[in-house]
Amino acid sequence: MSQLTSENNIRFDLRLIASWIEPGAKVLDLGCGKGELLAYLQQTKGVIGIGIEHKEDNVSHCISHGLSVLQGDINEEVEDYPDNAFDYVILSQTLQQVYTPAKLIHELLRIGNKVVVSFPNFSHWRSRLHLLFTGYAPQTKELPYEWHDTPNIRVITMKDFRKFIREFGFVVCREAAINSSQTDRQGDVVKFLPNLRATYGIFLIGKK
């Protein structure tokens, strides 16, 4: 597992998410990629972690490094878990690629006590200026794709997300706006005008 990650080289947004997780918790990481967050959580928090990932080489990488990971589609895989099977379900930088976000988040709060959701904030000033001055759909470091080849089918801002959570009857227990730097390894928490200045929004959601 030490090959997967260490304190210094884990992405800043993941480190922040990890800081919200109680030690020893049972965690499901959806779209876990190469397992950086899961490995980090196991090392630093002693969590019982499970990942779901659709890419074979990522899945294989995770299992080879001692993580418990299932290959599959997150929308389908979450349906198999009983109610409250997890303390936390993490949806890190995947929401923008989900077809039915409301249905998924409902499902996540069924299987998990708390849900962590993070996504690139589309209302960052760079995106706004990009559209305003160039007339082209914004492309940023966080959302680097052209309109026709992007996997990111949802355009979400932090404000949008807060509204969405309120309307669906859930509660935001905690939120953070972050600005990660070029390397992704470092960053800072944005306190002032987050919707304008944050590259990523991270939310901890619970039931009412």
């Binding site: 074979e56 080879s64 001692g66 418990s68 299932l70 878990y81 099977a85």
Partner: protein
């Protein structure tokens, strides 16, 4: 130099190994079979690799498929051309590392590679059993392996691993003796045969039984049902491959000729290949064993045996951590069948990892050297063996 590097990558061989035998169920203490019949004495051929830890807590049981045997790794003699059937996986530094683990592989009940089966002598007559051999199930095969482990004083397994019919035994082990099995790795397998899989087995069995030399299984003193068994193997081989693998390997290429022969010789390379595979098989395998083992595979049904029809219910008694692996081009036991098991394991809150490996060589993929499977198995075993230590 190149050879050294390659050897380093593949790991070394376990070296010289020896086939051993263990006999149990001597009369009157016969072995009770699932069908209600009894059998005895029963001899099990087995091999071991690596060193058994003093606490006997480093044991991995390797389970073979239809035509396999106890010879999973290493060589019987110096200079032998071919090692055991899973030498790519079992050995020092390999996926199943014999520097760490004590690996046991035994020939399955009903087979013909040293373990009691229809070709063994019936103690009542002194002649081969033939069809007097009772029907055995996957569960009976597991019970025979359990008897061997009891004899060796082993009560806990780090893992049970195997592909295809070996994978069925893996699943059976994890449900039949859940307290013994810390982890289970079913590869390219299924919780029960589909009608498609049963169909191919039945066609293969009919090929054997239609051979006039078969004589209701009573052929041991005369000519063997070679043609029937060869055809059965040919059918098997098609189901183990895939459209893509066959296309890539043979296409419509002709064998040693530039035009059709306009008769029934082997014109196509694929015909020639299947004939070769068929005839090679009859030299080493018993036709009756083929009948018994394929029937055992067809009867295998975890839902019926452990779950009153429900696969979820079936896994309720399991305690193992699982690593389930399927292959994209396996049309004999397609991925959806592995996913059914995975779903049932999840619903029971079991620790399960699942990976569907992209491979174009069909069901046989689990036997073909694949670095991905090796690293999966190695990583998974590492984790579960650490947990055992806790």
């Amino acid at each position: 130099m190149v050879k050294d590097t390659k050897q380093a990558q593949c790991g070394l061989s376990v070296g010289l190994v020896e086939k051993k035998y263990f006999t149990f169920a001597e009369p009157p203490g016969l072995m009770q079979l699932e069908s209600g019949a009894v059998l005895g004495p029963v001899t099990i051929a087995y091999e071991t690799y690596g060193t058994l830890a003093p606490a006997k807590d480093n044991v991995i049981l390797v389970l073979h498929a239809l035509s396999g045997d106890s010879h999973a790794a290493g060589y019987y003699r110096e200079g032998e051309a071919k090692p055991g059937w899973w030498d790519v996986m079992v050995g020092p530094g390999k996926g199943i590392d014999t520097n760490k683990y004590f690996v046991i592989c035994s020939n399955i009940l009903g087979s013909c590679m040293g373990t009691t089966g229809p070709s063994a002598a019936n103690p009542k007559t002194g002649k081969p059993y033939g069809l007097d051999f009772p029907m055995v199930t996957i569960g009976d095969m597991v019970d025979a392996q359990k008897a061997l482990l009891d004899f060796m004083g082993i009560s806990r397994l780090v893992s049970v691993i195997g592909g295809s019919i070996g994978g069925m035994q893996v699943l059976e082990w994890s449900l039949r003796y859940p307290e013994m099995v810390a982890s289970a790795i079913p590869l390219a397998t299924t919780p029960r045969h589909s009608a498609l899989a049963i169909s191919f087995n039945e066609i293969a069995r009919q090929a054997i039984m239609a051979d006039p030399n078969w004589r209701r299984g009573n052929y041991y003193e005369g000519d063997l049902p070679r043609t029937g068994l060869a055809v059965a193997r040919m059918i098997g081989h098609v189901t183990y491959l895939s459209d893509e693998a066959l296309r890539r390997k043979f296409g419509r290429r002709l064998q040693d000729k530039s035009d059709f022969s306009f008769n029934f010789d082997a014109d196509f390379q694929v015909e020639s290949y299947l004939r070769y595979q068929g005839s090679k098989f009859v030299d080493r395998f018993d036709a009756n064993s083929f009948l018994y083992i394929t029937k055992a595979a067809d009867y295998f049904d975890l839902r019926a045996r452990y779950g009153q029809g429900s696969l979820i219910e079936a896994f309720a008694g399991a305690k193992a951590s699982y690593l389930v692996v399927s292959y994209t081009s396996d049309w004999l036991y397609p991925t959806y069948q592995s996913k059914e098991m995975v779903k049932a394991m999840k619903k029971n809150g079991l620790d399960v990892s699942f990976c569907e490996i992209e491979a174009d060589c069909g069901h046989d993929a689990f036997l073909i050297p694949n670095e991905r499977v090796t690293t999966l198995v190695r990583g998974f075993l590492q984790r579960v063996s650490v947990n055992i230590g806790k």
